[in-house]
């Protein structure tokens, strides 16, 4: 899979490229719109990651021309959530997805994989890890065969964490997925819900499933391998 990232901030581009290469993507980088335009018309890419604020040729212009010349190319737009966000909305037909800065790399990876349909969004009916079982149809959660009653938000948090076991979800990702943007800035609502979730899911059992990764967020894992997870 070959990805082109058009981003004028060198460090941000390097960081994203390194992460993507670790995920075995082939990544090219263009630092401005004109270079991006050139690369796009030279090589065949599977995905375009585009910053909207670019020197030379603006991101929106590049988006328009790329959409014209490559109708089926998935395009992910990066934006700082300012007035251009509304422009992004106008270009939603042109961009397949957009992500606002500052973003988590994990979130970027989820979006990329979804766009590339390499990893279709997990819609398994039953999510399992160790002896924990979550049924998406009945919205029932069982551990060790015992039914555990969860509130709607607790269920939402758990379902999100279980959608990709082992991956760390940041508080912002959880907040935006389970709540909405109104709660951004409300200090510790995610922590409170995770604590209640733990009280119901982990406290009665020896094997702890929900782990805190300090400064990053939470993940669900069955092993006690690396991470030295601490209870927050």
């Amino acid at each position: 899979m070959r990805v082109l990232i058009v981003e004028d901030d060198r460090k941000l581009a390097e960081f994203v490229m390194r992460g993507l290469r670790a995920e075995r993507f082939a990544v090219d980088h263009a630092a401005d719109g004109r270079e991006g335009h050139g690369l796009l018309n030279t090589y065949a890419y599977d995905l375009l990651i585009l910053d909207l604020m670019l020197p030379q040729l603006s991101g929106t212009e590049l988006l328009r021309s790329a959409r014209g010349s490559h109708p089926s190319l998935p395009i992910l737009v990066l934006t700082a959530r300012d007035a251009t966000e509304d422009k992004v909305r106008q270009f939603e037909a042109g961009a397949d997805d957009y992500l606002t800065k500052p973003f988590d790399f994990a979130e970027l990876l989820v979006r990329i994989k979804a766009l590339l349909r390499r990893m279709p969004v997990e819609r398994a009916e039953v999510l399992r890890i160790a002896d924990l079982e979550l049924n998406r149809l009945t919205q029932q959660v069982r551990r060790d065969g015992q039914r555990i009653e969860l509130t709607a938000k607790e269920y939402g948090v758990l379902e999100y964490l279980l959608s990709s076991p082992g991956r760390v979800f940041s508080r912002t990702m959880i907040l935006e997925h389970v709540w909405d943007q109104s709660f951004e800035g409300v200090t510790n609502i995610v922590d409170v819900y995770v604590r209640y979730l733990r009280r119901k899911l982990d406290d009665p059992f020896a094997l702890k499933l929900i782990h805190t990764v300090r400064g990053v967020g939470y993940c669900v894992r069955a092993d006690e391998a690396h991470g030295d997870s601490t209870r927050g």
């Binding site: 941000l12 700082a80 959530r81 988590d104 409300v186 400064g215 990053v216």
Partner: protein, 481 residues
């Protein structure tokens, strides 16, 4: 009425000056009239005196006193003309004395005799009985004729002149207060009328807000100080707009520029932390740095929200929203947060309260108010959220039983980065932007926000929304969506 107002003071000065002028003119009139009447009376006495002189001069020697009296009575008719006439043949023999005048203004018999003299006399004599003093203007003219030397005295009562003066005086005394009573309100009205363009200017200036930076005052085309004032105010508004816009741009640019480096810092640190070879202690310290990054992120997000609200970019949608339902559903989402802090969150289910605005922003307003209330309330306290219609206005009320706001902090609670208790709330991770975002959302929705607070007992934040103008409902959305 404001006793220090310009209009009041000008009206008082106006009334005082007008009264002084009137009093001066009145006094002058009174004196001048008296002078005129006296001199015309003296003239008339002089004429009569001349007539008597002619009678005496024409009388042949040895004429009888009765003939002289007859002539004076027929030609001068003193009683009929209310005049006093006395002719004395010098040294002291009375030839003629007029009788009681028609208007009975004096008693002829009581007029005192003048000392014999050779020079003419003109003046006022007093006489009469103890009970009735009469004053007369008397002119005495000595003359020598063929029939002997005579003293002709002619007089007239001053009563009528004095009565006239007195009546004029009474009239002026009545007119003066009436004039003041009329002049003061008239002056007040005039001054107010003259000041009304200034009043309109100040009213319009008071309605100016940072929400409408392009509004300007109408220029009063008077060519005087008023026109210069309105032009100067408009220049001031233009400079204010420029400065507000540049500070907004700075805020927007700053929060925008911070986002990319934040992404890099966060990403790099997270990547390092996921590396298996990183020792536990370092991992913990990086985690601590990441927590600070998260706080920076919140801060930047808050600043961005504010800068977008500043730019008037709120009303991305304008729909009718059921505030009561929105409040209840938001409270349900935050109940656990409150319980975690040992605070009871009450949000009674109430009948719909419809306000117009941007749903997401209204929700953010409720979330921030609740977050603030929950954080300010100690364990065991109660936070109550309700929306009601009071005095035809839709009101959202968030009441807590927290520590209250000290009076000196009250004017600043909506300021950016302001914290009542800096140390404590920084620990909580609050950036001090929540309430200023609330304030900005209120302004964008034309709502007013008030705070009632009692130190140690709690605070109550009340958001009063404007009533919705009559007309069709703007698509009312399901509050649960």
């Amino acid at each position: 009425m404001n006793h220090r107002s310009l209009a009041f003071r000008l009206a008082v000065w106006y009334a005082l000056l007008l009264s002084a002028t009137f009093a001066l003119v009145g006094t002058g009139m009174l004196l001048g009239l008296g002078q005129y009447l006296r001199s015309s009376l003296a003239d008339s006495l002089q004429r009569r005196s001349t007539q008597v002189e002619q009678i005496l001069a024409q009388a042949p020697a040895g004429v009888s006193d009765a003939a002289i009296a007859e002539a004076i009575n027929s030609r001068v008719a003193p009683e009929f003309n209310n005049r006093f006439v006395r002719v004395t043949r010098l040294p002291a023999s009375l030839v003629y004395r007029s009788g009681t005048p028609a208007d009975r203004s004096f008693d002829a018999l009581a007029v005192p005799a003048l000392a014999p003299r050779s020079a003419p006399f003109r003046g006022i004599v007093q006489g009469g009985t103890a009970g009735h003093i009469q004053r007369l203007v008397l002119s005495a003219t000595p003359m020598a004729t063929a029939s002997g030397r005579y003293l002709i005295e002619l007089g007239s009562s001053l009563d009528s002149i004095e009565a006239l003066q007195e009546r004029l005086m009474r009239l002026l005394e009545m007119l003066l207060p009436a004039l003041v009573i009329c002049a003061a309100p008239a002056g007040y009205w005039l001054v107010n009328r003259a000041l009304s363009p200034v009043d309109r200017l100040s009213q319009m200036a008071a309605q100016m807000s940072v929400q409408n930076l392009e509004a300007r005052l109408p220029v009063v085309p008077s060519g005087d100080a008023l026109q210069r004032l309105s032009i100067a105010l408009n220049h001031l508004l233009t400079r204010l707009r420029d400065s507000v816009l540049s500070s907004r741009r700075f805020l927007a640019d700053a929060s925008h520029e911070l986002r990319t480096p934040l992404t890099v810092i966060k990403g790099e640190l997270q990547e390092i932390n996921e590396h298996p070879k990183v020792p536990g202690e370092a991992r913990d310290r990086i985690g601590s740095v990441l927590e600070e990054v998260a706080r920076l992120e919140h801060l930047v997000a808050g600043l961005l929200v504010l800068s977008r609200l500043d730019a008037g970019e709120v009303q991305r949608e304008c729909v009718d929203v059921d505030l009561a339902a929105l409040a209840t559903s938001t409270a349900d989402q935050m109940r656990l947060l409150a319980e975690d802090r040992g605070v009871q969150l009450q949000s009674p289910v109430l009948p719909p309260v419809i306000v117009r605005g941007d749903r997401a922003r209204l929700k953010q307003l409720i979330v921030n108010l609740l977050d603030n209330a929950i954080r300010c309330t100690p364990r065991g306290g109660v936070v109550t959220l309700q929306s009601v219609t009071a005095e035809s206005r839709n009101v959202l009320e968030v009441r807590d039983t927290g520590m209250g706001i000290p009076p000196e902090a009250l004017p600043h609670v909506f300021d950016r980065f302001f914290r009542v208790d800096a140390a404590r709330s920084r620990e909580d991770g609050g950036a001090g932007l929540g309430l200023s975002i609330v304030k900005s959302i209120c302004i964008a929705h034309g709502a007013e926000i008030e705070v009632d607070t009692a130190l140690g007992k709690g605070s109550c934040f009340r958001v009063k929304f404007p009533s919705i103008p009559a007309g069709p409902r703007l698509r009312l959305r399901d509050p649960g969506s």
